[in-house]
């Protein structure tokens, strides 16, 4: 026929082009460029997220801390009830994601850890019904958290309270913090704020340990049966490190001191001699063995793989006084230090900290969470007992006596550290509750030159903690 050839060509050409279009559609539907659906500007992601009925968060006693509410317009809105809990709970925002406990337990709260039953598959994958998440119960106690947040109100710093011996986190405070209820509105200001409210000082910060390193040196001394009653001459002398002059945290009544007394007054000179006697190799092995040089591991909150962190403190041979006064490149995290305190308060093991107590699926019952991370041995039981005794007896007479409370046998150390032009005050310690249970605390206040202030605030927190947890 006259036109047949041209028309056949046209049909063939059209079919080829349609096949190309089909191929392109297949590419976008099946493969697509990586991450196209997870792009931040994909409103479908936000839409799906906004429809999820996120689970509630409770404290260890069942007090509701955060919940998802339905607004007048039918939209879902996250609401946080206790400002004191903010730094621990973090935030949930459709625009800015999650932080803190909201991020750590995001999968549970979104319902992604629920088993994929036929009913759930039908509801979510076939009918595309919005997901409903599980509730989460934290180990936090709102009373202790309130006390710690109140203590640090108006300051920059952090406080961590652990339960001994299991490592349950009872309080986790970082100040300054933010209000997650108004996060979307204030995001720009929060991001630009000089005092970095999003930076969780309890979990992510590293500070110069300053005098707190004496507790660690003392720990190794007790472990190696070093005579802590030996007398050191001129124990209150000032150590010069670069432009820094570091003496006792509190001036002792005399200059001849035992190691125990030097510890009570925070005098660094005897510890320099102790460190030289112990040797850099042994000290560094001890420090690295308990991951002091790294950020702590706590599921979800910080990277679960241990990161290379600050350099180990001791040079070999020990020549730098800076190592021994905690002013070298070595830095410590408050949660790590709380773990040390917990080991001393307990049986010598550093517990793996955890914050998740239980989960509850929609319409179900609570399932208790059992932490599976093992504790890390720091001291023998006997060495822990001896160190505990030193810290408890030295507290009322030394630099940390502001932490002392009449009805409690609090043990601990208050110390000063220097960061550039500024100082910061530390307290690490513990308070027994029963024979086999105690509280451990680490508290740091930035821009403070008063260790006694840190001790006093820590004492207040421990007092509330013991009061709350003590058996009736």
């Amino acid at each position: 026929m006259t036109f047949t050839r041209q028309i056949n060509y046209l049909i063939a050409g059209s079919l080829v082009l349609l096949i190309v279009i089909g191929g392109a559609a297949s590419y976008w539907a099946i493969t697509g460029p990586e991450g196209i659906l997870t792009r931040e500007d994909n409103p479908r992601r936000v839409e799906a997220e906004a429809a999820i009925r996120r689970g509630s968060i409770y404290d260890a006693t069942g007090v509701l801390l955060a919940e998802t509410r339905v607004t007048d317009t039918g939209a879902l809105e996250r609401h946080y009830s206790y400002p004191a809990m903010n730094s621990a709970l973090g935030y949930f925002s459709l625009r800015y994601g999650t932080g803190g406990a909201e991020a750590a337990y995001n999968d549970i709260l979104r319902g992604e850890t629920l088993p994929l039953t036929w009913e759930r598959h039908w509801e979510q994958n076939v009918l595309h019904r919005p997901g409903v998440g599980s509730d989460v119960q934290l180990t936090l106690r709102h009373e202790i958290q309130q006390a710690a947040a109140g203590a640090l109100q108006g300051q920059r710093g952090a406080a961590v309270v652990l339960r001994v011996p299991d490592g349950a986190i009872l309080a986790l405070v970082s100040q300054p913090t933010f209000d997650p209820n108004t996060l979307d509105t204030n995001w720009a200001d929060l991001i630009a704020a000089e005092d970095t409210p999003f930076f969780n000082r309890a979990l992510q910060s590293r500070y110069q340990p300053g005098g707190t390193i004496q507790t660690l040196l003392l720990a190794l001394a007790t472990l190696t049966n070093t005579d802590i009653n030996a007398v050191y001459m001129d124990a209150d002398r000032v150590l010069e490190v670069d432009d820094l002059s570091v003496g006792c945290t509190e001036q002792p009544p005399q200059s001849e001191l035992t190691l125990r007394q030097a510890y009570a007054y925070g005098c660094p000179a005897p510890f320099l001699e102790l460190a030289e006697a112990l040797g850099a190799t042994r000290l560094n092995q001890f420090f690295s063995g308990i991951y002091l040089d790294q950020l702590p591991i706590m599921a979800g909150f910080v990277p679960e793989v241990r990161q290379n962190g600050a350099a180990l403190p001791f040079t070999d041979p020990i020549q730098q006084a800076a190592d021994v006064i905690g002013q070298s490149q070595f830095t410590l995290n408050p949660l790590t230090l709380a773990g040390m305190a917990a080991a001393i308060a307990g049986n010598g093991n550093v517990p793996a900290p955890y914050a998740l107590a239980a989960t509850r699926p929609p319409g179900g019952d609570w399932h208790t969470f059992t932490p599976d991370q093992a504790s890390t041995p720091l001291l023998t039981n006997e060495a822990a007992r001896r160190l505990r005794e030193i810290m408890t007896t030295s507290l009322p007479e030394g630099a940390a006596r502001a932490a002392s409370r009449p009805d409690l046998s609090i043990g601990g150390q208050a110390a000063l550290a220097y960061t550039g032009e500024e100082t910061l005050a530390w307290f690490m310690g513990f308070a027994p509750i029963t024979d086999d249970q105690a509280l451990a605390i680490a508290l740091v206040i930035e821009q403070s030159s008063e260790p006694a202030q840190a001790a006093r605030l820590a004492g207040d927190i421990l007092e509330v903690g013991v009061d709350v947890l003590a058996p009736e």
Binding site: I7, L10, S14, G22, A25, A29, D41, N42, R44, L127
Partner: protein
């Protein structure tokens, strides 16, 4: 008179012993209806407070009326074409219902008008003859409409290109009518000049250029259309016209070189337009790399691609996706909405439907191999619908820059629907009018 006698006789024969074409069309229409019932039911479950069944009733009425009247007047027609456009237009109505419910009533009304126009175009016995005979009158009418649009054009949205003529609350896009007029004119003119063209296409007489007698008026007409369209910034329609013009010229002349030259001219014109017009520059830039502008100029195409990805193979299900994030999704980007909710399977179904439309449409002309006008008209109409579908689908998939044309039968828009239905009505006429 003889026609109506024949039609009546055929109709009586059809009533007693239904022919296989009618039966096949009926089965296909039942399948299309079943598909729509399932989807309307699913949508009703999603939105129990809204009743959609009135619109389904409109579609069903159009189907039954069209089927019965076509049985009466054209019992030997192609059994696929009517079923195909009713499936697509029903699907389109469902999509409008789901995406922009406020427009659904109007679209249903347009469906009634379009079906009526289709039946008229298919059943009216003198339609083809008139199109062939009064081509210059049609051309003047088309150009008059375009000039009127330039002077009186409005945009129903209140902003954007003013490509519509309004009569009260009813708007009509003259460039849609021009598609039909252009094809009819070209088919008529080329059909009349076919003997001359055929001579020039004989082996041994191959020449690069057609005589001015053939090429001149066509080029003049095309140039005028394109200038007017470019003036109106309706570049998608201009590109569509040029493509169809080149293809039709190839069908008529048999010279592939003409088509290749046409494509080369189009690329040059495209490059010049890129240099001259911001809108073209913007569309090409976005096409080349939309991602840096994903939240600004390229928002529409990026959201479209996300819709394809979100739909996956099986789709989210009707009412379950969020395709409304694609701006004007009910119009140019309706295929993106379809992709998100019916998935790749839905898109492939539409592609297959377009393929069938092209194949059956062009083949409906081939049964009139001794009538060049009929062959060229069938090819032109099929190409116009096919190329338009290809352009917009390729645009939404980032294969081509966006052209801003609608997807026939599926997109919202009365002018497009009516003109597309008339085109199919003519194809049905061609397929069923063996005389």
């Amino acid at each position: 008179m003889s026609h109506s006698v024949n039609a009546t006789a055929a109709s009586q024969a059809n009533l007693s012993v239904p022919n296989s074409a009618v039966q096949r069309e009926r089965i296909l229409l039942i399948l299309a209806g079943a598909f729509l019932i399932v989807n309307y039911t699913a949508l009703s479950l999603q939105r129990p407070d809204v009743s959609f069944w009135l619109h389904f009733g409109v579609w069903l009425t159009c189907v039954v009326t069209g089927h019965l009247l076509l049985n009466r007047y054209l019992p030997q027609r192609d059994p696929i074409l009517f079923a195909l456009v009713m499936l697509l237009s029903g699907w389109g109505l469902l999509l409008i219902e789901r995406l922009t419910p406020l427009f659904a009533d109007r679209q249903a009304l347009w469906l009634i008008i379009a079906t009526t126009a289709l039946i008229a175009a298919a059943a009216f016995p003198h339609m083809l003859r008139w199109l062939r005979r009064y081509r210059y009158l049609l051309l003047i009418l088309g150009l008059g409409l375009l000039i009127a649009t330039i002077i009186l054009g409005r945009n129903p949205s209140g902003f954007g290109p003013e490509l519509w003529l309004g009569f009260g609350q009813i708007f009509f896009q003259p460039s849609e009518a021009l598609k039909l007029i252009l094809v009819a004119f070209l088919a008529s003119y080329l059909g009349e000049e076919f003997p001359v063209m055929n001579t020039f296409s004989q082996p041994g007489r191959l020449r690069l250029w057609l005589p001015v007698r053939i090429f001149g008026p066509i080029l003049l007409m095309w140039g005028l259309c394109v200038v007017l369209l470019v003036w109106q910034r309706d570049l998608g329609t201009a590109a569509l016209f040029f493509l169809v013009f080149s293809l039709l010229l190839y069908v008529a002349s048999g010279r592939i070189l003409i088509f290749i030259s046409g494509m080369a001219l189009m690329l040059i014109a495209g490059y010049v337009a890129y240099l001259l017009f911001d809108v073209v520059q913007s569309r090409v830039d976005i096409w080349l790399n939309p991602w840096p502008e994903a939240s600004n100029r390229a928002f529409q195409i990026v959201q479209s691609l996300m819709a394809f990805s979100a739909g996956g193979i099986f789709g989210e299900g009707i009412g379950q996706g969020v395709p409304t994030y694609v701006p004007v999704v009910h119009s140019d980007f309706v295929i993106a909405a379809l992709a998100e909710e019916w998935g790749l399977l839905g898109v492939l179904t539409v592609i297959a439907a377009v393929a069938l439309l092209i194949v059956r449409g062009t083949r409906s002309g081939l049964i009139h191999s001794e009538r060049p006008f009929h062959v060229l008209l069938a090819s032109g109409l099929s190409l116009m619908l096919g190329v338009q579908s290809l352009l917009i689908m390729a645009g939404t998939l980032k294969l081509l820059p966006l052209t801003g044309v609608t997807l026939p039968f599926l997109s919202y828009g009365g002018s497009s629907l009516v003109v597309s239905f008339i085109m199919v009505g003519l194809l049905i006429r061609l397929s069923g009018d063996k005389g």
